[in-house]
């Protein structure tokens, strides 16, 4: 057992780009990816993994079959947008949209690495072009406009492309008279596009005002983590707001708050359950219930 645990630890840092501690929870690879990328087939890479919540060793396949939820303690692992779409929508019903959008580098942003290089590395690592998947779909037979942010791509941060995809999703929902579902998980507005990222907050929120004027139904699903500019714009503007259990939801990150107030934060602070208790979200919905929850709300409030 110890040996297996070691192997898991060695593989834990899926991404080299981000703080490994923050990324270990991301189920970055599905089982099929794993088989393709593992050259030394004799090493059972990542077959087992330790649950960060109950610390039990769990069989990865079993966890994945359980919607990426720990079968022992119901810890919800972070998932990418493609997996989210697969979980939420009726089989083969998802029609991807706005895939023509590509990130440019309007600021010629350079930190320790150039923004286009950072993007290229993320694209290579994830096989995706940006941190969002949007499209028309069916959820339990109900037509919806679905937009999912992708945490596995640059921490799900919102730049011009994500903001545009969210805005177009809202506009499409308005044009086609569809309920709008946005699944959020994000580190916030993307620093590499600075002011333009900030403006996406205003753009998406203003689009939601029009959708609201047209009596459109917007169900916002908050997942772990939803922070910063995404929370402070469309994510908190749902007519109905659902949150996954134990999801971190807030404006400022816990570390920033801790540095400001210089005291320990209470247990469960900024977690879905405490937001529910504080009146900030409508329901905490376990992942296996999400489809049912969304369908039920559409039946009550959708057109």
């Amino acid at each position: 057992m110890v040996g297996v645990f070691f192997l898991y630890k060695a593989n834990a840092g899926i991404s080299t780009e981000h703080d490994p501690k923050r990324m270990t929870q991301v189920a970055g690879r599905s089982w099929t990816d794993l088989k393709v990328t593992t050259r030394r087939a004799s090493i059972p890479e990542g077959l087992w993994l330790g649950c960060p919540s109950c610390e039990k060793m769990i069989y990865r396949k079993r966890m994945e079959a359980n919607l990426h939820v720990c079968p022992e303690c119901s810890h919800h692992f972070r998932i990418g947008a493609k997996e989210r779409v697969r979980q939420l929508t009726d089989p083969d019903s998802f029609e991807p949209m706005f895939t023509e959008l590509r990130t440019s580098d309007p600021l010629s942003f350079v930190d320790r690495k150039k923004y286009p290089e950072r993007m290229a590395a993320e694209q290579k690592r994830t096989g995706q072009t940006e941190a969002v998947q949007a499209g028309a779909a069916f959820i339990k037979g109900r037509a919806v406009m679905l937009c999912c942010l992708d945490l596995t791509f640059m921490m799900g941060s919102m730049g011009s492309v994500v903001g545009e995809a969210v805005t177009r999703s809202i506009e499409t929902a308005l044009d086609r008279d569809l309920p709008l579902i946005i699944v959020s998980c994000s580190g916030g507005a993307r620093m590499q596009e600075s002011g333009l990222s900030l403006m996406q907050m205003a753009k998406t929120s203003a689009a939601l005002a029009r959708f609201d004027d047209a009596s459109g139904l917007f169900i916002s699903v908050l997942t772990d983590p939803t922070t910063g500019g995404v929370t402070a714009s469309f994510a908190m503007l749902g007519d109905v707001i659902l949150a996954e259990p134990n999801a971190l939801i807030g404006f400022a990150g816990p570390r920033v708050i801790q540095n400001t107030i210089r005291q320990e934060l209470p247990e469960g602070f900024q977690r879905a359950e405490s937001l529910l208790a504080g009146g900030m979200v409508d329901r905490v919905a376990p992942r296996r219930e999400l489809r049912n929850e969304i369908a039920r709300i559409i039946d009550y409030a959708g057109k």
Partner: protein, 338 residues
């Protein structure tokens, strides 16, 4: 005249100013003794004044982005309440969000700009230590944003245009603020400001820190004072995340990378205009800065008065809808990238 708070690039200016002050004191003393000022003294003063202006013009003409941030944070820089005193008349402050409390970091009230009756909304940082602490250095809580929106809805109801003055490092990152829904308060402001049927003009007068700034800046016309900054994150915050440590060198680099100056924001079409400051910055001449602000605000409010209030939200939406830069590839290429 001399500033006690010395910015590194102002060193030579401060030396000249000290000399000027000494000379001025000499002249005054001589006058007190009934002696007229000596010719060479007046000539010297004139020369130094010319020199001061020249040096200031040069230093402020080529401020680095990080220096801009420092000027925007200068303790003597005019604040929202200074501008209220300088350019508005009969300010009638309105307090409280009617839900939780009163946030002194966000000030709202009726006022007159010349003959124009309006609602003024703005962040206030505070001057004295006591006031700064009460205002959390200009970092507003959810109750501040909710107060702002409640008063803006009043303005809409009574057909008053809205002027917002932005000056905040960011929304307050604290426990109470989070628990009372900081994110929700800002988000609702963004949505509701976009559909207020009354003219809104915003000016970033000092610091435009992220969502906390934008929370009162969804306007028909947005301007920045020349040495203000406006960005998604402060240079220190950005340096701490992307460079792993916030130190002088990284802050400078982050300030450059973030394109946070008025010129950058104008280029990116995030703001519509830059309001020039007096030579040497608003902290040297508050009245001069206020005059520029007054002029721009008056012109814009007169311009916006011509539109029907019910048409303003559509125009405002179009203004923000355009923002963002990206490319669009052909459909065939898009499908395999998805």
């Amino acid at each position: 005249m001399a500033t006690t708070y010395q910015l590194p690039f102002e060193k030579s200016v401060v030396e000249i100013e000290a000399q000027l002050e000494r000379l001025g004191a000499d002249v005054l003393r001589a006058e007190g003794d009934g002696e007229p000022p000596k010719k060479e003294q007046t000539a010297e003063i004139k020369k130094l004044e010319r020199e001061r202006k020249r040096v200031l013009k040069r230093a402020y003409g080529e401020l680095s982005p990080w220096d801009t941030v420092r000027v925007a944070r200068h303790p003597k820089r005019p604040q929202m309440r200074d501008y209220i005193d300088l350019i508005f008349k009969d300010f009638c402050e309105l307090h409280g969000d009617r839900r939780f409390g009163e946030d002194p970091a966000l000030v709202t009230g009726f006022a007159r700009l010349g003959s124009i009756k309006c609602l003024v909304v703005g962040h206030h940082k505070g001057r004295t230590t006591e006031e700064k602490l009460a205002c959390h250095f200009g970092c507003a809580h959810p109750e501040g944003y909710r107060k702002a929106l409640a008063k803006m809805k009043l303005a809409e109801k009574f057909g008053l245009p809205i002027v917002t003055l932005v000056d905040t490092p960011g929304a307050y990152p604290g426990m109470g603020a989070e628990q009372r829904g900081q994110a929700e308060a800002i988000a609702v402001n963004l949505r509701e400001m976009s559909r207020l049927k009354t003219p809104i003009v915003s000016v970033i007068i000092g610091e435009g820190g992220s969502g906390g700034a934008l929370g009162i800046a969804v306007a028909d016309r947005v301007a920045m004072l020349e040495h203000a900054w406006y960005s998604v994150i402060s240079p220190e915050g950005c340096a701490a995340i992307l460079w792993k440590t916030a130190n002088e060198e990284n802050n400078q680099a982050a300030a450059v990378a973030l394109s946070l100056t008025a010129k950058d924001n104008l280029r990116l079409k995030i703001v519509d205009a830059i309001i020039a400051e007096p030579v040497g910055g608003a902290h040297r001449d508050a009245a001069g800065a206020a005059e520029g602000l007054r002029k721009w605000l008056t012109e814009r409010l007169r311009e916006l008065k011509r539109f029907k209030p019910e048409n303003l939200p559509r125009r405002r939406y179009e203004r923000f809808r355009r923002l963002g830069e990206f490319e669009e590839v052909a459909a065939a290429e898009a499908s395999d990238g998805g």
